[in-house]
């Protein structure tokens, strides 16, 4: 097992660049292949090597399948990337899986669908003072020859909150960079440490396997690449790279707070409480269940106490509803219901004779479905109080440029979005999808998906109905975030 060469990994994998409070994402199409390659060759791409002091500017770059083709990458190589990367986010069957229908449909997107499908995503980050000059300098003469800009997406710094006003980014997986993880076949406790291969191609994942990717024959052109760990005679094009999922999620902050306020007897404190039930955290980011006393591997209790919890002691969702956003997106479970099981007990459970409660053991093991979130907010800040006022005409939109990194889009991002966020049958609930992200569209046989149930222990749940759609998808695409060697290979350096 070889160590990770951080100089070959793009910095975004290891750092969120939090101190660089300014960022923009530029989506481009390649105008001239040679000019594009020349610009990419001459532009320094920030690596994952830790620097002291940390850099004041960073640039990372990722490509869609169409983008790789536009750079002249042969089809035989493109076709060795995953099905979903090649198919693209706006494929009709995929839109059903991801909930991108009706208002969310690609035909309504600002970017990402037919004709507006980007080739590359260029991400600029810098400390506030240097940002404008950095971006200006990068978009030089070569840039305009090389690329046609589809859209340049600005971001805003909301000090760690997302636009609805809830603390965000608290829960992130801890990547096992040193590959120290000894994973038993079945993991019986929730752990926040996740195998390197879940986030970086070319390394063992949670199954102990290396995810499929293009392996090339050694020759002059591929000499720049590293050898594949599982096939040493081949060159590993994707090693130290990963897939990047981007979605522009517009958030209707006014309708969110107005809904909460109306359903809480026009009392702002109660509205915030209802909001917390829907999010699964308070606005300050505190979880709705008490902290777990036993340590959780990969959670630093002191530095990040708000992440020190599981739902083990909330089996009916009386504290944190099953449908709450953070419970849907990370159910914090293990491979098996129950802890410290002996072999016999495990066997009994495996055969289907374990816990027989209705809500028991309904959710897939989370360790196969983690993502690394790297998105940023956009639009002006709006406090809950102000959100209750009518908006000015032509109000500037707000939302999240959602970005996540994962080595297997279908098992990680798509599973999460499909089976957990969009699913109207998540964990035994029915008639509701994610209270924040759901599209509220009816599905055959289920006219209503706009509910939100707040279970109570020993008495009747409260069911909030008629949730409007708060979040609208405005664009999206699947990218490949290459390692630096692969980038050199693509650009012929």
């Amino acid at each position: 097992m070889s160590e990770v060469d951080y100089a070959d990994v793009q910095g975004l994998l290891r750092f969120g660049y939090g101190h660089m409070t300014s960022a923009s994402y530029v989506l481009v199409r390649v105008k001239h292949q040679d000019a594009a390659k020349a610009w990419l060759r001459s532009t320094p791409v920030t690596t994952a090597v830790a620097q002291k002091p940390p850099p004041k500017r960073a640039l990372n770059v990722a490509f869609t399948a169409a983008g790789l083709r536009a750079l002249g990458v042969p089809e035989s190589i493109v076709s060795a990337f995953s099905h979903e990367f090649r198919g693209g986010m706006w494929q009709e069957s995929r839109t059903r899986q991801l909930g991108d229908v009706q208002k969310n449909a690609p035909s309504n997107w600002i970017w990402g669908s037919d004709g507006r499908e980007p080739h590359a995503l260029i991400m600029f980050f810098a400390v506030h003072e240097e940002f404008d000059s950095f971006v200006q300098k990068s978009r030089d003469q070569n840039w305009s020859e090389a690329f046609e800009e589809i859209v340049s997406l600005d971001t805003s710094n909301l000090d760690g909150d997302e636009p609805f006003g809830f603390a965000d980014g608290i829960s992130q997986p801890q990547i096992d960079w040193d590959q120290q993880l000894q994973r038993p076949r079945t993991q019986s406790e929730y752990t926040n440490i996740v195998a390197l291969g879940e986030f970086l191609l070319g390394y063992p994942n949670e199954y102990g396997k290396i995810t499929e990717r293009p392996l090339l024959e050694p020759n002059e052109a591929t000499a720049v690449l590293l050898n594949a760990e599982d096939a040493p005679a081949k060159k590993d094009l994707a090693r130290n790279g990963t897939y990047l999922v981007m979605r522009q999620l517009e958030q209707d902050v006014r309708s969110f707070w107005k809904f909460l306020y109306d359903r809480s007897g026009e009392n702002l404190a109660d509205a915030a409480q209802l909001g917390a039930k829907m999010v699964g955290r308070t606005q300050a980011g505190d979880p709705l269940v008490p902290n777990q006393i036993e340590p959780i591997p990969g959670v630093d209790t002191r530095a990040n106490p708000q992440n020190q919890f599981t739902y083990d002691n909330d089996p009916v969702g009386a504290r944190c509803p099953f449908g709450a956003h953070v419970r849907r997106t990370n159910p914090r479970n293990s491979d098996f219901p129950g802890r410290r099981l002996n072999a016999f007990r495990k066997f009994i459970i495996m055969m289907g004779f374990g816990p027989k409660g209705f809500y028991d053991d309904l959710t897939s093991s989370v360790r196969f479905h983690r993502i690394l979130r790297r998105g940023r907010e956009y639009g002006p800040e709006l406090s809950p109080e102000d959100a209750l006022q009518p908006g000015p005409p032509n109000e500037s939109p707000r939302g999240l440029h959602f970005i996540c990194l994962n080595a297997n889009i279908s098992r990680q991002f798509e599973f999460l979005q499909n089976a957990w966020v969009t699913n109207t049958k998540f964990s035994g609930v029915t008639g509701e999808s994610d209270p924040l992200l759901g599209n509220r569209e009816s599905i055959p046989g289920c006219p209503v998906t706009a509910n939100f149930a707040i279970p109570a222990d020993g008495t009747l749940r409260r069911r909030v109905s008629g949730l409007p759609q708060f979040v609208t998808v405005r664009g999206g695409a699947y990218f490949f975030l290459p390692g630096l060697r692969a980038l050199r290979y693509f650009t012929g350096a």
Partner: protein, 433 residues
């Protein structure tokens, strides 16, 4: 109890008539993957004992895989399979089907070999029946009628609670149970809610079931001296095969994969049909047979209702040999996306998956029949995708309802029918609402 049964009619298609057949089948749909339940050829919705049905053309693209064993591929005829899962006796159902939709069926089946204008439909269908070697039924005895009645019951309870939300404030679980019980009793008396009593279990079925319950272990017991003697040889042979059998898991063709996706995720439930050739030789055939007979026995007599191991998302499933013992098809109806279905399988019943599928050519390498195999997740998923067949027509009697929904509704109904409950029972019951 009304036991569930199934049928599968399997017949080779007349090659020249394949395009016509495809058109006919497509005409039964509103769009790709979306059946018109009242289509003129076979109005599925009119048959209230029919849970699931499908037409699949068994266009197996993997027959070349036998080359890895140095065998030359056989040319098989292209088969049409028509299968369904039903309440009660399959013969009775087929007769009813022919009575009500004989013309449409004739039109479809006339594209198959040996079907002429004078063919006796029922006899022909019975001659072409392919019985499964193993079957799984999510909830034995739960009929389509019961599913619909219980869904209506759940709907009625939900709207009653919504209308009278304030009156439940501060009530304890037991009181809520009583209150809802009297509401439903009133609804039943007024004829707005029907909860039919369970039909008596057919005597013939009971006898057969008992014979199966005892017969299978008895056979094992009788054969046990032989099994003990043969076991070491069998294990050695199987281990040798496991270590040398070639793995064939190329990336599934993108077009094929996308054509499957076009049919998926139109409902909360999806259909799945996968086909392939068995590894050659007696040891593999024996392993398959024993494993699947055991699965069948377990699914029929041992599993807890609503579960297959830890999996709660499968409505019906079956394994069938296709015309001989060289090829096999697996058909199921499951909730959620195919990705979550495969993940569930790998992570919850990987052992069962390996035992039953590893006898197919090219399956990722197993150890001791149940270990590894599908843990090679990416290869396994490509393997499965490559072997999956698009279903031309697929019908489900209760759109929008997952198997877990059905379980909830049944639990609610059972709770309502209890005259009294302990506090604990009442709390669990109220949590279902």
């Amino acid at each position: 109890m009304t036991p569930q049964s199934n049928f599968m009619v399997l017949a080779p298609i007349v090659p020249e008539r394949e395009p016509e057949l495809r058109e006919l089948l497509a005409s039964m749909n509103r769009g790709p993957g979306q059946v018109n339940p009242n289509n003129v050829l076979l109005p599925f919705a009119e048959f209230e004992e029919l849970h699931f049905a499908r037409f699949v053309i068994l266009d197996d693209k993997t027959t070349e895989d036998v080359r890895v064993y140095g065998l030359s591929p056989r040319t098989y005829p292209l088969y049409l399979a028509f299968l369904g899962d039903i309440d009660g006796n399959a013969n009775v159902f087929l007769q009813k089907l022919i009575r009500r939709a004989g013309d449409g069926l004739r039109q479809i089946l006339s594209c198959c070999q040996g079907f002429g204008p004078d063919t006796h439909l029922l006899d022909w269908m019975k001659q072409h029946e392919s019985p499964p070697i193993a079957v799984y039924v999510n909830w034995r005895g739960r009929t389509v009628r019961q599913i619909r009645e219980e869904a209506a019951l759940y709907g009625a309870l939900e709207s009653y609670i919504e209308k009278h939300a304030a009156s439940f404030d501060g009530l304890r679980a037991c009181q809520i149970h009583q209150e809802l019980q009297s509401f439903i009793n009133a609804e039943q008396s007024a004829g707005r809610i029907t909860l039919s009593k369970e039909a008596p279990t057919p005597i013939g079925w009971q006898i057969k079931n008992l014979a199966h319950l005892i017969g299978f272990p008895l056979l094992g017991l009788l054969l046990s001296p032989l099994l003990v003697l043969a076991a070491p040889f069998f294990i050695i042979a199987l281990r040798r095969l496991e270590k040398s059998d070639p793995v064939v898991c190329p990336i599934a063709d993108q077009k094929h994969s996308e054509s499957l996706s076009d049919l998926e995720d139109h409902d909360v439930t999806n259909q799945f049909s996968a086909m392939g050739s068995l590894k050659p030789g007696f040891v593999r055939l024996l392993t398959t047979t024993v494993v699947l007979k055991t699965v069948n026995y377990g699914a029929r007599h041992i599993t807890r209702a609503g579960r297959l191991g830890r999996i709660r998302s499968i409505h019906f499933a079956r394994w069938v040999f296709v015309a001989g013992t060289e090829r096999m098809i697996f058909c199921s109806n499951y909730d959620g996306s195919v990705e979550s279905y495969m993940d569930d399988f790998i992570n919850k019943t990987g052992f069962g998956l390996n035992a039953s599928f590893s006898n197919g050519i090219g399956y990722p390498r197993t150890n001791w029949l149940v270990r590894d195999g599908c843990i090679d997740e990416r290869n396994y998923k490509e393997y499965l995708r490559r072997h999956t067949l698009p279903s031309q027509v697929w019908y489900k009697a209760y759109p929008g309802q997952s198997a877990v929904d059905l379980e909830r509704n049944t639990r609610i109904r059972r709770g309502l029918e209890m005259s009294s409950m302990t506090d604990e029972q009442a709390r669990e019951w109220v949590a279902l609402l």
